[in-house]
């Protein structure tokens, strides 16, 4: 085992792909907001600050051996639950949901931190299974570990973020060797739970689902968002209208065009070519994460990398599908592209974990 990992051991390809996506994001954030008169620092500048901070954090987290981080999993888990509890106590309400905690004068979305913690906690749990057959007891433990923070986030309420925790558990379970009968049973259970879940949904969540199922019923609200997003995407055509020239984007028809619907803005201004490039980059990013998992020193490293891949992949899938009207509006941003401080920080920390796994791959 080498004592210190060198500069060359970092995954520069992964970083290159990630920064390329970030660059496209910053450009599109600029294009989408440059003519709106928001006070203060422009969003794209802010995003650049976040990226710089994220890159720094990525470097820091990559220097600490991930095994040491995994050792602290129970404590991290506890911190995560407490933070979620604090959100209810002193959290800031924005747009009808309590998601924000003040830290160092800024507001952080605690759920982003919890995503990271869940990756770590589940990586530790799965790596301790040590067989290739996941027992029912193990599955129940995974369900409890994931379910606790998930329900807390759901209560904020933030259905979208809560859902992003699930893929970490699902992908982990698949790699850990879930049994077919259990998989089928879980699927059936989820199907049965849907009506119950409906009962517990907030009115706006039900509305979103209803709109998704019958968009023509409500053309001004969520249905309107989806429709305008689709119009933007479709109007882009093959070559796009050019940066800063998309009427749907510049006219403000695309909802939250610098964040959740940034892909719609992108699709309008850069066309199918731009979408091909963007989704291609995401695919490369995800494959690169899998690549790192395949070369991890041990299973715990693999689970960390795959946890990150699961969450990012889920984000991309749900967001892109929403933009073209294949999924309801859930408020899940496009990782690395959408504007957002906490989300950007989380992704870079997650990538830091993968780097961490990467630079220690030659051990043994």
């Amino acid at each position: 085992m080498r004592e210190r990992a060198g500069i060359r051991d970092y995954d520069w390809v992964l970083l290159g792909i990630a920064l390329s996506i970030c660059a496209m994001g910053v450009i599109e954030i600029y294009s989408a907001t440059h003519n709106s008169h928001m006070p203060g620092t422009p969003l794209y500048t802010k995003q650049l600050y976040w990226l710089a901070l994220g890159a720094f954090c990525m470097f820091v987290i990559s220097r600490v051996d991930y095994h040491r981080i995994l050792e602290q999993a129970p404590i991290l888990y506890l911190i995560g639950l407490i933070a979620l509890g604090l959100v209810f106590a002193i959290g800031q309400t924005k747009m009808g949901a309590k998601r924000w905690l003040p830290v160092l004068g800024a507001f952080f979305q605690v759920s982003e931190l919890v995503k990271l913690i869940i990756i770590i906690v589940l990586a530790r749990f799965y790596s301790e299974v040590r067989t290739d057959r996941l027992s029912l007891a193990d599955l129940l433990k995974v369900a409890v570990l994931t379910g606790l923070p998930l329900v807390l986030i759901l209560k904020q309420p933030d259905l979208g973020t809560a859902m992003t925790l699930a893929p970490v558990a699902v992908v982990g379970a698949f790699l850990a060797g879930i049994q077919w009968k259990h998989a089928v049973a879980i699927l059936l259970l989820v199907a049965l739970m849907l009506p119950v879940g409906w009962h517990f949904m907030k009115p706006y969540q039900r509305e979103r689902v209803q709109t998704f199922l019958r968009p023509e019923d409500d053309p001004k609200k969520s249905g309107y968002q989806i429709l305008q997003s689709k119009i933007a995407v479709g109007a882009g055509g093959f070559w796009g209208k050019g940066l800063g020239r998309g009427s749907q984007n510049q006219g403000g028809f695309v909802p939250v065009r610098y964040s959740d619907f940034i892909l719609a803005a992108m699709a309008e201004e850069t066309g199918f070519i731009g979408v091909l490039l963007t989704l291609g980059l995401y695919m490369a990013l995800l494959l690169r994460l899998v690549h790192n998992a395949q070369r991890a020193m041990d299973r715990s490293g693999m689970y960390l990398a795959m946890g990150v891949a699961a969450i990012l992949g889920f984000h991309v899938l749900v967001n892109a599908a929403m933009v073209i009207g294949y999924m309801p509006v859930t408020g899940i941003p496009l990782p690395l592209m959408s504007y957002g401080g906490s989300a950007t920080l989380f992704i870079f920390l997650a990538l830091g974990l993968v780097m961490n796994v990467r630079i220690r791959r030659f051990v043994n």
Binding site: H67, K220, I231, A235, M297
Partner: protein
């Protein structure tokens, strides 16, 4: 060393590979989704994006003004604001409807009705919900722009008609285009546009109506204008100049004020209509915006028929005015000698039936001239019986009775001139000779419009030249036709008509103007039988129509006046002739004033030039290109020019 040192190093490579395939698969799936939107359906979405972004604003072209023959403005425009409702989002519209109804002071039912009526129009076309916004409405709309984005205002040019129905019968009015009009126009007309509904507004709609322009603006998601794409300027409608003489029209309007009837004044030399009055009449300014259903029904069920354009639509018995046509027929056909006389004891017996003369005391023995001047019925009963219906019908038809005059107004009626052929065709029976007796005094089946009588009498006075009456001033030759009438006949008829307005004539007291050779004929037509008349009189109803049709001067007439006063108990000599008198007097006064002014101006101009007027020939021949002898013009020019030095 840590607990982790012993972590399993054998990785589930197959499953990791499966995850890779899933990633590629899902990416392709997403790309297919984008492909469908961006490549397959792109045109549709581009169209939708365009519709989102671009809003068309109608720029309404002002309608052409209407001027009198001297250029006075009779009909003008004024700017006004219309309230538009954008129906892109019906859910939002329905929600905001009560607020809109309240703010604009219109009833909910009215709004709903309008929305219902516009149901079939394309949704992106806004509808006019209030045509004339008040100051309060404008303030309401301005202050509610953020929460009522579906309400907008558009500037329109509205018609400003002279008040009190001045010249209404001729001008007509404009109204909002109907759905049928819009369909027929092939995109030229839009909801809320105005076009002429009656009168000259309808007749010359194509000239008066301009072409609307359009401004395409770019809007953002909240409907705010963020840029102007292009603009097609509206083309204003062209003005039309009428033959109407404003001053004479004022006199005619005043003459008929408070009465029911019609006046038309024309110049028989060219068919120019100088004045045109039909009373009662609605004020077209009430229609310029939008007529309520109740008002429309009231106007159409009014027993006085204000919607009837009496000059060309009132078809009434011409009464004794028709005697001029009979007299002309008598003199022209020579069916009976022109020296024919009849004794009038106040009544006569034909075929065992008593026919009364309007003068119960009788006229004694009268010849043609006296019979016209004093309007003896018995004389004309005899003439009618002797010359027969076909001769009367032939000349009446020649003079334009029973036919449309061809005036440039929609809705003209033809009247009716009965004949043997007509009764056979319509009633399948022979003509009864007794009917000729009634027709000879303008009763019976013969009916005419005031304009027809003006044209007929004017044409006879012109010696048989009948010019088509018209309202649009034109320099082109006016359609005309000629009827052979001997000079002798014209002389005798015009003399008799002059005698009508001379001492002993029926219209002397009411119509005589010193220094003016006003010729004319009075007429009084009963609309019901003598017995019915008595009953009607007892009920206080007036059931006589009084006529006076006259011209001046006797030779080379310049002006023909046809006056009809309906539902009166007075005779044409008492109620219609004075009106004609006023108009002809005003005409001559204006003419005299103009001549005096011209004279003053010419003398003034000549004095200023320092010498006598250059004679017109000298002027004309001084022009180049004159085909006169080369030597001739020179000395004349010199002669004209000499005194100036």
């Amino acid at each position: 060393m840590s607990y982790w040192f012993g972590s399993d190093t054998k990785l589930p490579q197959t499953r990791l590979a499966i995850v890779s395939y899933v990633i590629v698969g899902l990416t392709l799936l997403l790309l297919v989704g984008f492909w469908k939107l961006q490549i397959v359906d792109s045109t549709r979405y581009q169209d939708l994006a365009q519709r989102n972004r671009v809003r068309n604003i109608q720029l309404i072209a002002p309608r052409g003004r209407i001027l009198d023959r001297e250029g006075h403005v009779i009909v003008d425009n004024y700017p006004s604001f219309s309230v538009l409702l954008l129906r892109d989002d019906m859910k939002l519209v329905n929600k905001a409807l009560p607020q809109i109804a309240d703010g604009l002071h219109v009833s909910m039912e009215d709004l709903k009705q309008q929305l219902d009526a516009a149901r079939l129009l394309p949704q992106y076309e806004p509808i006019v919900i209030k045509p004339e916004a008040s100051q309060a409405d404008i303030a309401f709309i301005e202050s509610h722009k953020p929460d009522l984005p579906m309400i907008e205002m558009v500037m329109m040019h509205r018609r400003k008609y002279p008040s009190g129905g001045f010249l209404e019968g001729a001008i007509g009015y404009v109204g909002e285009v109907s759905e049928a009009d819009i369909e027929k126009s092939e995109g030229r007309l839009h909801p809320g546009d105005m076009n002429g509904k009656t009168g000259l507004e309808q007749q010359y709609n194509e000239i008066l109506m301009g072409t609307d322009g359009q401004r395409r603006i770019q809007v953002n998601s909240v409907g705010r204008e963020v840029g102007r794409l292009d603009q097609i300027e509206p083309v204003a409608g062209k003005p039309i100049q009428l033959t109407i003489d404003y001053d004479l029209q004022v006199v005619a309007e005043n003459a008929l004020a408070g009465k029911k009837g019609a006046i038309v004044v024309l110049d028989p030399r060219n068919g120019d209509i100088l004045a045109y009055v039909s009373r009662p009449t609605p004020d077209p300014n009430d229609f310029a915006v939008r007529v309520s259903k109740e008002e429309w029904q009231r106007l159409n069920s009014d027993p006085d028929h204000p919607m009837m354009n009496r000059v060309i639509q009132a078809q009434l018995a011409p009464g004794s005015v028709f005697k001029i046509i009979v007299a002309t027929a008598m003199l022209e056909t020579k069916a009976i000698p022109e020296t024919f006389t009849a004794f009038c004891p106040g009544q006569a017996n034909f075929y065992g039936r008593i026919f009364h003369c309007w003068e119960p005391r009788g006229h004694g023995t009268v010849n043609l001239n006296q019979a016209i001047a004093r309007s003896c019925d018995v004389f004309f009963y005899n003439v009618g019986m002797r010359i027969g219906i076909d001769r009367m019908s032939y000349y009446a038809t020649q003079f334009g009775l029973g036919k449309r005059t061809g005036i440039d107004l929609p809705g003209e009626q033809s009247g009716l001139m009965p004949s043997e052929e007509w009764v056979k065709r319509v009633y399948h029976r022979p003509w009864y000779p007794g009917e000729s007796i009634s027709v000879a005094v303008g009763q019976g089946a013969v009916i005419t419009t005031p304009l027809q009588l003006a044209k007929a009498i004017g044409g006879i006075a012109m010696g048989g030249i009948f010019k088509q009456p018209h309202l649009l001033k034109t320099s082109e030759p006016v359609p005309e036709y000629r009827v052979n009438i001997s000079e002798d006949t014209v002389e005798k008829i015009t003399q008799a008509m002059l005698d009508v307005v001379s001492p002993g004539g029926t219209a002397y007291t009411a119509g005589h103007i010193p220094g003016v050779e006003l010729c004319g004929k009075t007429g009084t037509a009963q609309t019901i039988s003598a017995e019915g008349m008595l009953k009607a009189a007892n009920r206080g109803e007036h059931k006589m129509n009084a006529w006076f049709v006259g011209f001046a001067p006797r030779r080379n007439p310049e002006i023909v006046v046809s006056v009809l006063v309906e539902s009166t108990m007075q005779h044409g000599s008492e109620v219609a002739a004075p009106l004609a008198h006023d108009i002809v007097k005003a005409y001559y006064e204006k003419k005299a004033a103009r001549e005096k002014q011209q004279l003053t101006a010419s003398i003034g101009g000549a004095t200023a030039a320092g010498g006598p007027l250059p004679t017109p020939p000298a002027r004309a021949s001084s022009q180049p290109g004159q085909p006169a002898g080369p030597r001739e013009p020179k000395p004349q020019t010199a002669a004209g020019g000499k005194p100036m030095r």
